[in-house]
């Protein structure tokens, strides 16, 4: 087909016909990769978004995201004002969970204290508190909790229970000893001796911060990938890309590989922050962490690519990522709310959220030191998810404009 008479100055040996199919493909991918890297490194805003923003967020949110409740405002209305009631309040204060405010005046002020959020709990000690205790009888105190923040209220009431039981035990203990010594009567009782393994102080930060890393990895790599391809379409350069001999898979590889590298950098930085700033223990294998994260990146990059095949502008890409991926992922992955607490139907839905499996893996690695024998099932799910969404995206990614 030389009838077309190529340009006389054309280099011989048809430039676009490489030695082998594979060599040509690798060459084209490498050329695209080089171009992508130049563009990413030149885009300061993007580098900031990819590298520094996640680290800063991890630090700030790592301090903020904690469910350990301390300093619950507790208003005490002591109607008894006896040595016993004061001793009881001292015991509550000694627990370390409460910030105690004495309240006098009319009972309507209690309501106002709760409504205004000045306190989370109101404790009412009855006037016959000391009289009944001295008479060896039981007494009931009333606790009013601000149920609007249910998590806070539940925790506050629990702490109140614990502190009250402690005080109560102290009252009973001498009597029990008397009974045993004088009358030989033993009262049976069961006591729980708790030991929290993997996280002995039950620090919620140790549980949240690794999850936060997974979350940030998802957000940055997915959004930037979806925008990278849509940007080419928006700026008209996609048209030029399509008429070149680049094949769809080569375009995808060239587009995604830089983000794999960036993902690896992000994980490393996050790891440093978690170990140094938050002193989160890391019991597992670093190799396994990078392997699992690499598998998770298949999902995030695949989702980003998939979104880019559905939308037309970078703004739409951002919206789709935020609304259809991030919201359900944050709420249903077990990142915030335990999946075990969800209704069965929702638990089945949560089973489709890939972040759930990544969280299982990294929390296991950080706190429990779990290894491949325990972690292969979630890893396999993650791998299937990643390969699935990536294949779907590749199938949807046509080298056409329409």
């Amino acid at each position: 087909m030389n009838a077309t008479g190529p340009d006389a100055r054309a280099p011989n040996a048809a430039p676009g016909m490489p030695r082998s199919l594979w060599a040509g493909s690798l060459h084209r991918t490498a050329v695209l990769l080089r171009k992508e890297l130049i563009q990413v490194l030149r885009d300061r805003a993007l580098i900031g978004l990819l590298i520094f923003a996640p680290v800063i967020q991890l630090v700030v949110m790592g301090f903020a995201v904690t469910t350990d409740i301390k300093d619950i405002g507790l208003a005490v209305r002591d109607n008894d004002r006896s040595a016993q009631s004061r001793e009881y309040v001292r015991t509550l204060a000694a627990s370390g969970y409460f910030r105690i405010i004495a309240t006098t005046g009319s009972e309507t002020t209690d309501d106002r204290l709760l409504v205004s959020g000045a306190v989370g709990l109101v404790l009412v000690i009855p006037a016959d508190f000391s009289a009944r205790l001295l008479a060896g009888r039981s007494v009931t105190v009333q606790a009013l909790a601000d149920g609007a923040d249910s998590n806070f209220a539940v925790n506050g009431i629990n702490y109140l229970y614990q502190a009250t039981r402690l005080y109560s035990e102290r009252l009973v203990a001498p009597r029990r000893a008397d009974l045993a010594r004088i009358q030989g009567v033993h009262l049976p009782s069961v006591t729980v001796q708790p030991r929290a393994w993997y996280n002995p102080n039950l620090t919620s930060r140790n549980f949240f911060v690794p999850g936060l890393m997974g979350m940030l990895l998802l957000v940055t790599t997915m959004i930037v990938t979806s925008m990278a391809l849509v940007k080419e379409r928006e700026e008209g350069t996609m048209e030029q890309l399509i008429v070149t001999p680049l094949r769809p898979l080569e375009i995808i590889a060239g587009k995604l590989l830089p983000f794999v590298a960036i993902g690896a950098v992000e994980i490393t930085l996050a790891l440093i922050v978690m170990r140094l700033v938050f002193q989160v223990p890391f019991e597992g294998s670093y190799a396994l962490l990078y392997l699992a994260s690499g598998v998770f990146l298949l999902t995030t990059l695949g989702l980003g690519l998939f979104i880019s095949t559905l939308v037309h502008t970078q703004q739409q890409a951002m919206m789709a990522a935020a609304f259809f991926v991030m919201m359900p992922f944050i709420l249903l992955s077990g990142f915030v709310f335990p999946i075990e607490n969800m209704p069965l139907v929702i638990q089945h839905v949560a089973a489709f959220i890939p972040l759930k499996y990544y969280l299982i893996i990294i929390r296991g690695l950080f706190l429990k030191g779990t290894g491949l024998p325990e972690l292969w099932p979630p890893l396999l799910v993650l791998l299937l998810w990643g390969l699935g969404i990536l294949s779907l995206a590749v199938l949807k990614f046509h080298k056409r404009l329409d």
Binding site: V31, K35, E239, Q240, V243
Partner: protein, 316 residues
């Protein structure tokens, strides 16, 4: 044509939903020819060129580009064509050299070949010395020549240029056409779309497209002589009301506004300057001046596109 054509389009059709953008278009372009694809915006020029480049799938019909079927062997077609889109489509955040290295690289040019070709095309486009400039900072005319340089980097035998001269000043337009003629003289086949009809004079053959249909296909001269009408240029006081009244005269087939003047079309040989002046005088239409003028491509296009009723509007 004794050689097989470089571009051979057969019944090419593109339908978007219920809108037929390109309607059974057929034409052939000989190797080394400059083929001008002319028509107003929205006529289907870009859609056709995009199908030929493999950017859009055709609804029906097909085309051979460089001997290969655009639908069955798009990869072979891509290797043989250069394409310059309507919008500037190089990477603005890359330098000129980086853009050339990228596009040369994806076409498989080796490092050495790339260096030689890049220097060649920049010299050809008159752009030597701007290699390290960021592409986004260059002026429109330079960007356009750079886009052409990029499109011919891999020495494609066939070049598709989609409205390359829109938004470019007249001097740069002329320089650009010299570049294209230079390329054609070296054997490159060029298919170029434009809505500037005066640019048709640079083309060996032209196709006029209107509303997705090819209304004429020949050399520019033959397209003009193919319209069997005479053109009279009239100077009148009130352009629009005169145009309306001229339509009522049986020997006038149609009119069109050309700037401050009016063109009236009569069947070939049916009227002379004197007879038409007399006819208009009898009808009471005041005319300051009336001359017989040769048919321009604009005239031909107006008559071909709207033979029933030429609207008094600006030429395409």
């Amino acid at each position: 044509m004794n050689e097989s054509p470089a571009i051979d389009v057969r019944d090419l059709t593109k339908v978007f939903g219920r809108f037929t953008a390109v309607d059974r278009i057929s034409f052939a372009v000989a190797p080394g020819d400059i083929f001008g694809f002319l028509g107003p915006n929205g006529a289907g020029k870009s859609t056709t060129i995009r199908m030929l480049c493999g950017l859009l799938a055709s609804t029906s019909g097909t085309a051979l580009v460089g001997g290969y079927d655009i639908n069955r062997e798009p990869d072979r077609v891509r290797q043989r064509i250069g394409y310059m889109s309507q919008r500037f489509s190089l990477y603005r955040d890359l330098t000129v050299a980086e853009n050339l290295a990228f596009f040369g690289g994806v076409y498989g040019l080796s490092r050495g070949a790339l260096r030689d070709r890049a220097a060649d095309v920049l010299r050809l486009a008159g752009l030597s010395g701007i290699e390290s400039a960021r592409t986004g900072t260059l002026s429109g005319a330079i960007q356009q020549r750079l886009a052409l340089a990029c499109a011919i980097l891999h020495a494609p035998p066939i070049l598709f240029l989609d409205e390359p001269t829109s938004g470019v000043d007249p001097v740069s337009r002329r320089a650009f056409w010299e570049l294209i003629q230079d390329l054609a003289a070296r054997g490159t086949t060029v298919l170029i779309t434009t809505h500037f009809l005066d640019e048709a004079e640079f083309c060996a053959h032209i196709g006029l497209i209107s509303a997705g249909r090819l209304v004429a296909l020949d050399t520019p001269a033959a397209v003009k002589s193919g319209v069997a009408e005479d053109v009279f240029e009239l100077q009148v006081d009130d352009l629009f009301s005169s145009a309306e009244r001229l339509k009522g005269i049986p020997s006038i087939l149609g009119t069109a506004c050309f700037g401050p003047r009016l063109h009236a079309y009569c069947p070939r040989g049916a009227a002379t300057e004197q007879s038409l002046t007399a006819t208009l005088g009898a009808a009471g239409i005041p005319v300051t001046a009336l001359h017989s003028v040769p048919m321009s491509l604009e005239d031909a296009f107006m008559r071909l596109v709207a033979p029933a009723a030429a609207l008094p509007g600006s030429p395409v």
